[in-house]
């Protein structure tokens, strides 16, 4: 079956700078795909090219197999919710919602029933007759969303739609938006810089950096099997710890040695001997009561209190690492005993910054 959206070799250069470089991506019907990356990585530019406001320098944009590069935004059956929502401030909410339907030539009663249905779906019943300029952020976001869905677009583009909302609304809306998308089977391309949003809502996540897609995978894959250091550090909150390690040969296997004495024996892997990195997620570090074989000491420097969980910042191997754990009484300056588990750790090559997969064998003292 043809993909709903296919980007093939898309490039765009602005003032000598490559905003998007040879980007290729497919989106299946009914799929929710997030375009995730830091500011300036080119994700909004990509969105603008799909919508039709920027012309790519090279490459093809195909919707349902048909090339739409030469179509104006008017003719692409694409829905767009911009970052500032762009609600029509001089029109009523009702008129906003009905706008796309007016364009299609729907009759008055058909428009009215469609608007009422949308209003119920998005809880906009009270504000239907208010002018767009008088709404608050949350109301504007719902209007923008409802308005774009009214015309039943082939593809819905969302450009950081949650960034203007407070944390509480964001948390609530993530679930609501995802449920809505599933019930409508709407194909969605979601641009964001918030990895929590991307991971929690998407069928797949495409991580972008400097105009290129670095990895496209399911949220689980992205989280547990990142392709390189950038993805590994970008995904996950609190961020990944990069621990220096020493890789050496050990018979037919490899040994990864960490400061403080822990050594892992692992299967041989395509990585150079010497100093490399071990990526360990804060969540995967075990706190042991006292020193034991396989544990390393760390000096507690700082505690971030999130209520039920704490994030401890401890000094280890002349660097600060983060440990996520349940809340407990601790005192600054106390010595923690950490145990890392190699099953969840990532071996990262210092020069290529790629994640090198390996198989842990039994742990040694």
């Amino acid at each position: 079956m043809t993909a709903k959206l296919r980007l093939s070799g898309i490039s765009k250069c602005f003032a000598g700078r490559d905003a998007v470089r040879d980007l290729s991506l497919t989106l299946d019907r009914g799929e929710f795909l997030s375009l995730l990356g830091p500011s300036g990585c080119g994700k909004s530019t990509t969105l603008a090219m799909i919508a039709g406001f920027i012309t790519p320098d090279a490459g093809d944009i195909l919707v349902d197999g048909a090339r739409i590069n030469d179509l104006s935004p008017r003719r692409r059956r694409v829905g767009l919710v911009q970052q500032d929502y762009a609600v029509f401030t001089s029109l009523t909410v009702r008129a906003n919602l009905a706008f796309g339907l007016e364009v299609k030539g729907l009759g008055r009663s058909a428009r009215r029933s469609a608007v009422d249905r949308l209003a119920r779906l998005f809880d906009l019943g009270d504000v239907l007759d208010r002018r767009g300029g008088t709404l608050n952020m949350s109301e504007m976001q719902r209007v923008a969303l409802a308005r774009s869905l009214a015309s039943e677009p082939e593809l819905l583009l969302l450009d950081e739609p949650m960034s203007n909302l407070d944390a509480e609304s964001r948390a609530r809306l993530r679930g609501e938006l995802r449920q809505l998308q599933k019930s409508l089977a709407q194909t969605v391309l979601y641009v964001t810089h918030d990895q929590a949003e991307a991971l929690s809502m998407s069928d797949r996540v495409a991580v972008m950096r400097d105009g290129e897609i670095v990895q496209v995978s399911t949220p689980d894959d992205i989280y547990y099997r990142p392709a390189n250091r950038f993805v590994a550090e970008f995904i996950g909150d609190p961020p990944l710890n990069l621990i220096p390690c020493d890789v050496s040969a050990d018979a037919a296997r490899m040994a990864i040695a960490l400061a403080g004495g822990a050594v892992f024996h692992v299967s041989a892997a395509p990585i150079a001997w010497g100093r490399q990195w071990l990526g360990v997620r804060p969540h995967d570090i075990e706190l042991v009561g006292e020193a034991a074989p396989g544990t390393v000491p760390a000096l507690l420097r700082f505690v971030e209190n999130f209520g039920a969980r704490h994030v401890l910042h401890a000094e280890y191997a002349s660097d600060l690492i983060r440990i996520e754990t349940v809340s407990a009484a601790r005192s600054i300056g106390e010595t923690l005993h950490l145990r890392f588990s190699p099953e969840r750790a990532l071996l990262i090559d210092r020069s290529s910054e790629c994640v090198v997969p390996f198989r842990p064998l039994e742990a040694a003292a």
Partner: protein, 295 residues
Amino acid sequence: MLEDNLWVRFLKRTGVGLAIVIAFFPIFWLVSTSFKPIDEWQRFPPVWISSEPTLQNYRIVFAPKAAQEFAAKQKGAISYKVSGSAWKAFGDSAVIAIGATIFSVLFGTLAAYSIVRFHTGGSSYPFQFLVVRMFPPIAIVVPMVVLFSILRLSDSYLGLILAYTAFTLPFSIWMIRSFIEEVPEELEGAALIYGMRPLQAFLKVTFPLIRGGVLATALFVFILNWSEFLFALTLTSGHVVTVTLQVANYVSASSGKLYGVQAAMGTISTLPVILFGYVIQRHLVRGLSFGAIKR
């Protein structure tokens, strides 16, 4: 943002082209006529560009003696004895326009500063100046003639300067007010903490930031003063002559309006306005909408 189909593009080009032609044509006619000898002024079919261009019109305006000598030698050249000198007209206009501009901008800046930073007079005070602008000047002119005769200001430079100042103050105040409003009050507040007096703070901190705007206002007011006609017509009686009045002097009993000469005078007297107008092009919108509309 949008593609233009052929039809739309054609309409666009014709529309703009038409607008440009219509905008330019009367000016072209004025300039062209200024170089025409007298027999071409009212010829039918009309002469678009003179086949025998002459500087005689300009001579009559700026060098009357040379014009007479030329007319004596050249058969068919127009000879005309003008009652007043155009040089005096330019001089008078310059004196009045510059003087009135200085007063208007000076008073206007002080008043605008007072209004913006101290809210002097309440919220309706600035609108009182707007009302001045809405009066038809002709309604004021009659008693002004009377008033000026009492104050011994009839047909004087100071009289016209005062009148022009008063009627351009609304522009000065509103324009400069909008410029001052763009400078945050905290900057002056910081200066006050350092021990400056309020006016010092304004002059040293805010004024340099609005210098461009004040200059634009000054040029704008100058244009208004230079182009003014009604007050010049009614408040003077021959001693003071502005360029707008001087044009009317080029009328002869036998030939009626001396088109070529008037065109020459008009072309030259319009030049400063065009020049300054282009210099302040960016600020024209702000000025003409009393600061309500900004780029």
